[in-house]
Symmetry: D2
Subunit: 440 residues, 4 copies
């Protein structure tokens, strides 16, 4: 088997950047990645992949936008394709591409997240996407977390794998996952069983948790998290004439927010709770009868997060009872924790990367949440191994900032890391006969 | 019928003051009026009254002290009497004396409250009860609201009525009510049906709501009120090592107290809520698992107070739910509102008093709560009429102050007002044939 | 002097309705009454009035919309006039028209409020303004409180007064006041001193506080009120990674809202507080650093409202301190209480109206707030007399509802009441020589 | 130098247990260790030590009981001694004994805490101190944390060191520290500079953090902590008649407690806050004007605890401001964190103990707070080394339980560990010339 490393030319960089910019122009937030999905599928099909999409790759979607938001976004797009778009346009976004070499070898899955952020991209002239004309064309949507880069890397790796199909072994699964922001999309993908027979799983993130030029191999410390929307529904009344006939949803929410913030003290490890958004009431002189909150919980492990969630349920129910209002708790996203390090496995991958000249760190903490943990846990539950990379990059502004931008050189590094690792895994697989799931 | 007014000699004043001082020495708080009750019964029996007491005059006692408090008070007394004390010593305090002239005439009931306050009487030398040696002999108990005077008046009126029995008509009922403080005792008395056949009901208060020398005839504006004790019961835990395993009763109570205080805004009239006492937790480093609160509600009318109570129930239940603790709500006292004025009736009484030289005001607002309202409402529900007097007096300090004392001249005025009014009522009764309930 | 009553023909009704519909079409919210003001001035000038407007009639405007809102509304209008619009278009809206007969007689001022509500008018076909084609042309603005009717009445009365100028005595001042909603505009007008020499002041409201067909003469029970916007400004931080580096404006606002609602218990009379709107935070996973609240206070009298306001200040400052955030309190409206009744004066006016066949009630409680109280208090402070009418009308839906509409017959009644009262006041004035402020 | 280990006979155990029981009988809580101190000084003097006590060994005492508590305890004791007790009886408790061999060698300091707990010892017959007649003679005071054992060990080690004076080198300092419970006493001792020239510091705890039979050598993970008493002082008022004239300390405390509990979320490590006790208000119908709280904070390091304290200050001040009450924050105890391990040093000591047959664990987490950290940090700041032992013991009930008791065999083990370690340190000192502070 030839060294995959040698196979990409100087042209690779240009293609990666072009792809990234193509997707930077059309950012779409979670479950609205209509154009993004269509583009991705078209590329993958053109490379010869079997592509699965729509309802087939989804089980239970969390945090769906409401129907009017979906319709609005749908109506401003003019999408054409030679395949059926109907399910995609209902929010069954994302795509899975499979390539089976039909030669003995491991099943290697990779995951690339594809959604943008609900941010209006900066109009400043010195913001590179403006200067070089690839800024977002969608109002209040922006690739401000580097997922445009992830897509570009995924498509490029897929192209190269397809090109090299005859020299490879095993089976390749490319998962282009929607709705990573707010940890909404991974659970839906995992629920379909797509990852049941995966030997190796690779994923990663641009510009996060790593210094410029550094490659983290085997990120750990992913926090368990849950995202909830909470609604209180009371009864309006004139605040001067008959305040007692109203039931005050604003006060229920205010008391709830305070009481929720008393929860996160846990002996077993770190815990977090944030009421990030609270909106209540319409008019100064009316007893406010509607309130809503957006909250999140986190825990160093799932037990903490799970207990925290039952306590949240108590506080919400109690606050509603206290003020005689109704409540609704809607889970809109979640992800399990991940804090394992298969040191032997990761060091083997790292060693390979170091040989190629990369500055590699092993086992650094992610320190936040990412729903890739659903996929990693699923793969490992089924006996496979997983690794998460963090690709250090020079940034123009922090993630989720309206002037976020990254040095595109990281695309080549990330592409390279995937290709090198695939190479290593195939070798590794044979050395220890890890390919449990034969591809006959 | 002779004018009752003329029948009391100069000696009356001395007897009133002596009686008042006798009772001032042995103040006893609600449901603990053991000695007080025994003394009253003895007096009444000596005048020839049929006296009812113990369980016969009680239905449902609220706000009873706990058994150990009862026992402790019982053990420090040496009571002797030629009648059975057992029920009295179980807290069935108070007494009802009845005199039936067996001549046609109205049934006239009077109520005198007999309990003291949970206050340590001032030790200051210039406090008259100290100077003249009639200060409280009971630690942390004091007649600081003038009920000692009420007892003296009641006994004196009863004595005179008994003496004049042959010149009078109708039936007389003297109610010596326990536990007025905290509005605990009246409901229990009323529940026995004692007031079912009463034509006229008289009661009053010394030194409250009236200027010195003023007699208010027909007080109104009594607020409905409820007194509640609230308990929260959680789970202790080490606050440093495993805070999450505790359930915090202190925070439940704190949130409850704040949320309760958001309740009293009612379009239909005045409302009040006060969390007067909150005690929670034992140790700085333990998640506090016990909390208790003493609260009260008030309303300009019963509807307001009743709705307020259901809201209180919601807040308490919701606060408990929010923090995962148990709760208990114990009603320890209540009284209905009273805000009616039968102007014709009251003016007739007032006219009589004015003739005697009193400065009389009609229909002044009481502005607080008094459980005499249970008795007044009961009498009126059954077709009778009621009047509440306020006897203006010079005070040494405000009611419920540990230096409270009143100018004993008010005793004679009050005694006189009762006697004059009895006289007038008997006449009035015959003039309009109001004696519906014949005493055959 | 002829009876003014006889002077309006059958045509009056049609003119009133036409005018009302003309203004119903162009509702404009407080301080944005650009077109409304221009129309009113044009009418008044055409009748021969001296009209004052712009900065001359304003002292201190409260609750101004921000500059971008002003600009946006300005840009969608095409206003032409032969007088200078510049100050009007900066939000110095409203107009004052003066007519001096130069004959001895009283100065009579009338006030008509002219602003609409921030409500999108209902699109329902059976909503009369839709059916008869006079619905609002302005998005999210609607005359849903009858001020369109008030304008029509004011213009019609002004026209008639101008026509009859030669038969009248004294001086007439017509105040077309902006921004009554939210009690923002009156204070600004009063501050200019326009009402210093007024003998009689008349104002009123359509469809409020009176039954259909009823005319309330001498409304009382106007509550003192203050409207405040409150802002908290903290510091954002990642809620998972470094929550301690944020300063939480949402919790400051939540605690503030709860604590504010514990304030309104006052012995001296009714008090009210409402946090009507609370908005805080942008993102689920960020410590929320911005919060804003819209609140109002009310009091049965100014002392209560004033003390309540100082308590509000304490709570807001304390809440900000507690959570380490900055705060700002912006008064956006206020009105004093008014609860006086000059019974002799009002009965004289009422008697006159009863003679004309109206069902008149005297001294009914308004039960809410209206900044006309600023004008009434000012007139009375200077020795004048004031009266506020409530014109009962059949309504299609309650005030401030998006289907609000009133039976236009009330316009004629109201017009008539003003004219009758002017007639009576002139007569009255001469009978008691009340015209203190001579018009030489 | 002979092996110190060999020098204690079978009799040692009996003496240790006798001493422990002597002190178990007279437990005294923090700053009230009058009898305890006198006994300790007497023993130490009898061994020939120079003993320092009273004001000389104190700088700044925190959490002193009030004067009446001091007087009451003083008055129930009959203490006689041939030295001046006056400062001790003012709460300058504890003692420091110094022995200088006047031979070159290290300065070794040891600390033994001497206070008991505010607990009524169990009366159960099967509680060993009852069965064997050494239970507490002081009401509501008990040695429930093993400090009686610490005293016995300290006195016994001091006796042996004095006996062997001629065979030893260097200088020995025995610190008998008062008021460890509530972390009140250490700071006061350290502030005098007593530890400035110490080379080695030893301390330890019985029955905590170690299994039965286990010796932890080099405990780490001591949390920084602060103990605060918080007072709110408002204004009383009748809750029905004039609630607005009161300033509510109960609500200030309730809001404060809730808001305090929202604080402990820190990115840098574990943080804790507990409001353990809240007491407010006297009477149900009075606006409560007094409130007090007992709280504590903890942090994984001092930065966290320090920032947490500034936040506590904000919340308390803000809560007071919100409700118009005064506040006072009284620090009553604190201790820094300690989480260092000089592995070489500790392993050398441990190795020696293992040779003697002990089951030794190195570097186990204490997991709570102990103000010995003040002493350890001070010694290390000045270039010395410190070690904290945890002596595993069989317990009858957990620490701070009213049936706490420990298997007295641990006394011998602990005594032995001190003696062995002293031996090792003297040797160690000479091997590496660590005796920087010469004793000429």
């Amino acid at each position: 088997m030839e060294n995959i490393n040698s196979i990409y030319s100087d042209n690779t960089m240009k293609k990666l950047a072009d792809l990234r910019r193509e997707f930077h122009r059309c950012p779409e937030t979670g479950w609205l990645e209509f154009e993004t999905t269509v583009k991705i599928i078209s590329y993958l099909k053109s490379f010869g992949y079997e592509v699965i999409y729509g309802k087939k790759i989804h089980s239970e979607r969390m945090g769906l936008p409401d129907e009017s938001t979906m319709r609005e976004h749908r109506e401003q797009l003019k999408l054409e394709a030679d395949f059926d778009l109907s399910e995609i346009l209902e929010g069954y976004t994302g795509a899975v591409a499979i390539l089976d070499t039909r030669r003995d070898g491991p099943t290697i899955a990779m995951r690339f997240d594809i959604d943008g952020n609900e941010i209006d991209e900066a109009k400043a002239e010195n913001h590179l996407p403006n200067k070089e004309n690839f800024a977002s064309l969608n109002k209040n949507m922006m690739h401000a977390c580097g997922h445009d880069g992830h897509i570009a890397i995924g498509i490029s790796v897929a192209r190269k794998i397809a090109e090299r199909k005859e020299q490879l072994r095993g089976r390749f699964i490319f998962i282009f996952q929607p709705a990573e922001e707010g940890v909404k999309g991974a659970k839906s993908i995992v629920g379909t069983g797509i990852l049941k027979e995966v030997d190796y799983f690779l994923s990663g993130h641009i510009g996060f948790g790593a210094e410029e030029g550094e490659i983290v191999c085997g990120a750990v410390g992913f926090l368990a998290t849950s995202k909830l929307d909470i609604y209180f529904d009371g009864k309006p009344a004139h605040a001067g004439a008959s305040p007692e006939s109203g039931r005050n949803a604003l006060l229920a929410a205010a008391s709830c927010a305070l009481n929720l913030h008393t929860l996160p003290q846990f002996g077993g490890g770190m815990s977090r709770l944030n009421v990030g958004v609270l909106k209540a009431g319409d008019a100064r002189n009316i007893v406010p009868h509607k309130a809503e909150m957006q909250i999140e919980t986190r825990g160093e492990n799932e037990e903490i997060n799970a207990l925290l969630l039952t306590r949240v349920q108590d506080v919400v129910e109690g606050s509603a009872k206290s003020f005689g209002v109704k409540y609704k708790i809607v889970p809109v996203g979640d992800a399990p924790s991940y804090d394992k390090l298969d040191r032997d496995f990761v060091e083997r991958l790292a060693k390979n990367l170091k040989i190629e000249g990369y500055k590699v760190t092993i086992g650094k903490a992610f320190g936040a949440s990412e729903d890739v943990t659903y996929l990693m846990n699923e793969v490992e539950k089924n006996g496979g191994k997983s690794v998460y990379f963090m690709f250090g990059a020079k940034l123009a502004a922090p993630h989720h900032h309206n002037r976020f931008d990254f040095d595109e050189n990281v695309l080549k590094a990330a592409y390279d890391v995937y290709m090198q690792s695939i190479d290593a895994l195939i070798k590794f697989s044979f050395s220890i006969d890890m390919n449990r799931h034969k591809t006959l």
